[in-house]
Symmetry: D2
Subunit: 354 residues, 4 copies
């Protein structure tokens, strides 16, 4: 069950219809989940900013680097030019190059891109090497292409796609998503978040000190001293923002991560990628004229979006945990799912509002 079905509803704003990144108009998500034999527990997740040719119709974007111990490919061009020109791919650390290669091939072959000679593939990762034989590099280019092809508005959470083998707060993590829709008076915009969770800290569930109660948190004992990892955060909004304000939006997602008890440890590659799907801010690869006109939300009206991204990130992370299932993988290692019944008891103990 998702967090909200258990009465866990962080924040004061309201989710969108699906409580998913795909509540943002046009955004699609697809997975390839690789579970094979005893040791392959990995996969690919693709996020498409819109369903057309993203290279020809780029979306404005910003990236915030919470902690740069990661291999995100494509970051510098997004930051320099302020836009994304490919699907966003998440996978495991050692398969970034495979995914990049697939995205380059995919883009070169799209209709309309016959003369394209430069593609900025945006590929993030976390390290699933505890449960997955990561050194085996089992992700194939076709797996990436399939994730793109599979993309739809329904997002499988937990052990799916790039979250198949990840570990979060010592429990099984994975993919999670959530959204917030602002009231009309604050603009009516939607903010959606998708996360790939694989990091440590001291788990808090909507304020309840779960990590402490379960005596399972970073540095609590030898075992957990090296619960490093990473968190990839992808953010979509239909608000008309340019790259500067999208980068600011991305930065706020780290506060949502903080609210779950994350500590952005040394080894955690924490990156947030934000883009706008607003039709008016699309950036054509080959513009009709040298000057184009963009609608832009004034700085003064961005704060509700910041609040929305914090809430949606917190809830997306919780969903990644609540939707994940106990997994045994590489070298017979077993990672338990979050103990939902115990959590329910803690919700009661702490008199959590229903």
């Amino acid at each position: 069950k998702r967090a909200r079905e258990l009465g866990i509803a962080p924040g004061v704003l309201t989710p969108g219809k699906l409580n998913s990144i795909t509540d943002v108009n046009g955004v699609l998500v697809g997975h390839t989940t690789l579970i094979k034999a005893d040791s392959i527990r990995t996969g690919v997740t693709a996020i498409l900013p819109h369903n057309g040719n993203v290279f020809q119709q780029k979306v404005p974007a910003g990236i915030f680097i919470g902690n740069g111990f990661g291999k995100l490919a494509g970051s510098t061009q997004v930051m320099e030019l302020g836009n994304i020109e490919s699907p966003i791919i998440l996978t495991n650390t050692l398969s970034v190059s495979t995914a990049m290669n697939a995205v380059v091939g995919y883009t070169l072959q799209q209709a309309g891109n016959e003369n394209v000679q430069s593609v900025n593939a945006l590929v993030g990762e976390t390290n699933d090497g505890w449960l997955n034989d990561i050194r085996g590099r089992h992700v194939q280019e076709q797996d990436v292409l399939n994730a793109i092809k599979n993309a739809g508005s329904n997002v499988t959470e937990g052990n799916a796609g790039a979250g198949t083998g990840t570990v979060c707060f010592g429990f099984k993590g994975g993919i999670g998503t959530a959204s917030r829709q602002l009231p009309k008076s604050l603009g009516g915009y939607t903010v959606g978040v998708l996360v790939q969770t694989n990091y440590g800290g001291v788990l808090q569930v909507d304020g309840i000190p779960v990590g402490e109660e379960l005596k399972k948190f970073s540095f609590s004992n030898q075992l957990l001293n090296n619960v490093d990892g990473s968190c990839m955060i992808v953010i979509a909004t239909d608000a008309p923002l340019d790259s500067r304000n999208l980068e600011r939006l991305a930065a706020r997602s780290m506060l949502g991560l903080g609210k779950t008890g994350g500590i952005a440890s040394n080894g955690s590659g924490d990156y947030a990628i934000a883009f706008s799907t607003h039709a008016g801010v699309r950036i054509p690869h080959q513009p009709d004229s040298t000057v184009f006109t963009m609608p832009l939300l004034h700085n003064d009206y961005t704060s509700p979006l910041f609040m929305a991204v914090i809430e949606a990130t917190e809830e997306a992370i919780l969903n990644s945990l609540f939707m994940a299932t106990t997994t045994t993988g590489y070298k017979g290692r077993k990672i338990e799912a979050l103990p939902v019944n115990t959590i329910k008891e803690l919700l009661k103990k702490y008199n959590h509002k229903p």
Copy 2:
């Protein structure tokens, strides 16, 4: 009473002796508090990295800009050269120039600085214009010099110094401090934090949804829509870190701010300044030789410090609120202190661990 006296003890690590930034060896803090007539509610807080000549014996430092809508003077030189060469001063937005001028004068006149022709004054601020007649610019250079002269290891919290007129989550904010001491097995280092709180969001007290319970949070009604503001965060540690890892340490403090419910709104100038007091990492203004030797903590061992700064920031912010008192100021405006009795009831309601 401080948060901890009420049983509010965020996190899993242990505070230092004073639970204050001054637990870090050598750090001194001084205030000048200006409460005059009906409309002056402002002041100055000085943080001294050590009690010698900071210009001659600089400390390595890093700055993280959580949100750059602020007037922090001196940031670029700290980031370029990796060190701090003056006391750190906090005051109100429109008095940064006065404080800068005072710090420049102070440094020029220190014994040993007779030939100094360049001083990088590091002066931060938040905007206390709701309770204080900020346009009157009532801070004088002497007030800044007094704050430096007054500096000691005892830190007054709440309505003191640069926190005299600030507002946080709609309640009276101010100055707060806290610290964490790592266990020997994790290095035994101390991390201390001092904050000047003046920002909005949805207040959470060690996980308890106080803002929601009190129906007092950003965007909850017209009144609170513009609770902008800022948070200055000053971090000291005795761990041997260079500017790169101090900047990383500074970045984590924003997660502590997030845990209190802060949203780093558009108008909130949120800056974190971190420095190391470790004797081995001092940087002489005039070195004996071109190459000097520095002990440095390896990246792999920084994560416990990151956890410590998150916890100490959260608690310092709570202290700034719990220690503040109801204040009436400019134009007769009144800002209530956090209602401690109500909070106590909420602690019970939510079965908060004592």
Copy 3:
């Protein structure tokens, strides 16, 4: 005489009418020059993005930090919010606080700003402490206000305003300006640059190795080993650029500095500030609606502007040298003007195109 009058015309593009930053529509420049007694050789230069209320009608802006060993006040807010809301002031290192204070006062008192409680004064500096009694801090607030009041389209170069006491490549430096106007086919935009030169390296004049010929360059002898200093670069354009592309434009100016033989030494605080005066990109302090519309030049068409800023920076720097005059100042120190007759001979020797 200006460089171009001597046949020195770097680059391939054409200057604007005045070959000045004031060729960019609406930009105004004013100086206060302080030459008093034996030891005061300093001043203030003000650059106004337009002649209205800049706080109410902000201009988009970007800042590039070539080397952050400087005291530029206001940088973080410009970079975060992407705009400038005050006149840009240049002065000496130890008078930044005075200038800030003056700009704050000026802005608070402008008609229409009666309720303003936060002002981001943008104040840069270089260190004129060789010729000027900088520790005396002789710049007064009134000097800053006068520079603003004096602002017009005529820019005095050389020993004027903030360039009164500066030294560049061991010669008398100062204020210089230049501009480029793109041909219609490349957009027809104007780029103007104003510099305050106070740095070292190995002087090259439009490719001619003047520093080497005169045996006067950094590290050539004991005297020149410490020719540190700084260069402030202010860039205006009428092209419709947002802060992202203005920051990119600013970054290119360092290449122009490089072409004069500058080395951005450790002690040189080199900052470039770029803003757009295009009427369509103004950012109202209090917008009529939450979303506004901005015309923006597509990334693909920015390169000619980059070329223009490099050329204009190089020429502005040369103008600062060619227009400066021999100066005796603090402690009887004398800095010679560039020896124009020798340069003319070198132009012949190297067969410089007339």
Copy 4:
């Protein structure tokens, strides 16, 4: 012939023995050059910081992004952790993923890395799509491994390795290298630079306006309007610098690029990577203790290194042009080598010092 053999010796400092990046103790460079059929004109260049296991013995490093329109993989981790843990690979834009994959495989298989689960491959590129069938993605992983295996202290320049198909200022570019050795009085350190040149602007050769004389420069006519491209710059030094000062060193290389007439156009992905080979600053992957000791050059003594990197970059770029040969490639396109005889005449015309 190399530039210096023609009497072209930019700057005032002296080159190292080979005038090559390999003058820096321990640095090795290898190429794989792919010239096949009519349309394959590409390759790989590998730079090894030292000849041991770079993953186990990392080198401190900094990256400066001159213009981020490029695909440099691995940048964020280098900037966050301050070190390089793999060979540096240069290739063409669409083969970055292949090279990444090869470097990951190479590192996983090195003796001592049996348990490694995370590798940060540092792979840069420029776009050789004018002369090379870049969409064919002809670089194979084995080509990358061969470049690493081939690495030695002899560096082939011009049409070699990753420079096989590149174009610079409208002429054939490629790989170039140069170095500077500081006099003992300035530290005696060596700075070496290797470039992959593929960019436009207005060519200047040691101050001589070659581009203007040949009427061949960006925006001079329709044909040259899109001479975009990129420049990768790799910098080695034996000075004991940490990542902060290495990043500053890297930033100065752009001034050397500027001196050749480069303009860092919109489409030019210009990145500079700097590392130190000093034995004392190596960073062990698995440290013996939590705190290690590093010798560090004091900030005040870095300026001569900055001057050295500017000079060496300028000369390395000239070498890439002077050593390249006329090339016919993809679609029968032909790019001429720099016309050396004409240049010699220009050297005479401009009375260039021999």
